[in-house]
Chain length 162, copies 2
């Protein structure tokens, strides 16, 4: 095994700043939403996805994919959200294995009530502090990073071809 390429000093500083900022922000949003909406950030994200889908519903697998969580995790999450009456399951007529998760009116109402506070938190943490230039740069950087990590990324399905 050959000597690994370690990070330069500046790379290390950047990496630590990244870890620091992202964990602080995730914590902040989790607490904010837990307090104001009674659910963690991930669950809130599920409701948002549903609210934007046609007929406010999505197949479980699609929802899992767009929220980047496993189907198992989603099953539990939807079960929990069903208990709060924010989501209901519906059978899929065309595929008897399939399930839709549909946002209820109560769920929609929770979103309406809590979205402003959430947006404010995001804005305060990010956009109020970054220049317009920095926002653009951040967007570009994040897109580049995501590209390299995409499950459907470069040869992700064909590693044996490399």
């Amino acid at each position: 095994m050959t000597e690994p390429r370690w990070l330069t000093d500046e790379e290390q500083r950047t990496w630590r700043a990244y870890l620091h900022a992202t964990t602080l922000l995730e914590d902040h949003l989790d607490r904010q939403l837990q307090r104001d909406a009674g659910m963690p950030h991930v669950y809130y994200g599920l409701l948002v996805q549903l609210s934007q889908a046609p007929r406010r519903r999505l197949r479980m697998t699609e929802l899992a994919k767009s929220a980047k969580i496993t189907r198992s995790r989603l099953s539990h999450a939807i079960a929990r959200l069903e208990k709060s009456d924010w989501v209901v399951r519906e059978n899929c007529p065309s595929d008897k294995r399939g399930q839709f998760a549909r946002l209820t009116d109560e769920g929609m109402e929770v979103l309406r009530r809590t979205a402003p506070g959430h947006v404010a938190a995001v804005r305060q943490a990010m956009f109020d502090r970054l220049s317009a230039e920095q926002m653009t740069q951040l967007g570009e950087i994040m897109r580049v990073m995501a590209e390299g990590l995409e499950p459907s990324g470069p040869d992700a399905d064909l590693p044996w071809l490399r």
Copy 2:
């Protein structure tokens, strides 16, 4: 209640790119470390912190602070790491309430063995894909964001003065 300031289109795109990239990366590192080192990213971070501390040990509270997790979570985490013999607890002579977490030789060895792979993963996900300029920008952006979220941030201790 007044109409909230929603995000502009570009802000939304940036925010989504951010969420997308950060969750993908965190997932990626978690899997990589779980596979190669047998522990999640947070736990790995604890070992790294310890490895860099004098005498490879830290007080629980300090470790919790530098890893940005609660003391409760740290208690459980250290208990788990103790079972793998990567960390041991030691009493603090000067403060009988205190505990040190100390990295064992086995723990150090795990780090030595797995650090190269981890660095490679970070590099591949981030630094191999960003230009030198972008890396600098990212560092600056993350520092700005962290500043605003710092527990010891602007008036965090004196909110009643605002």
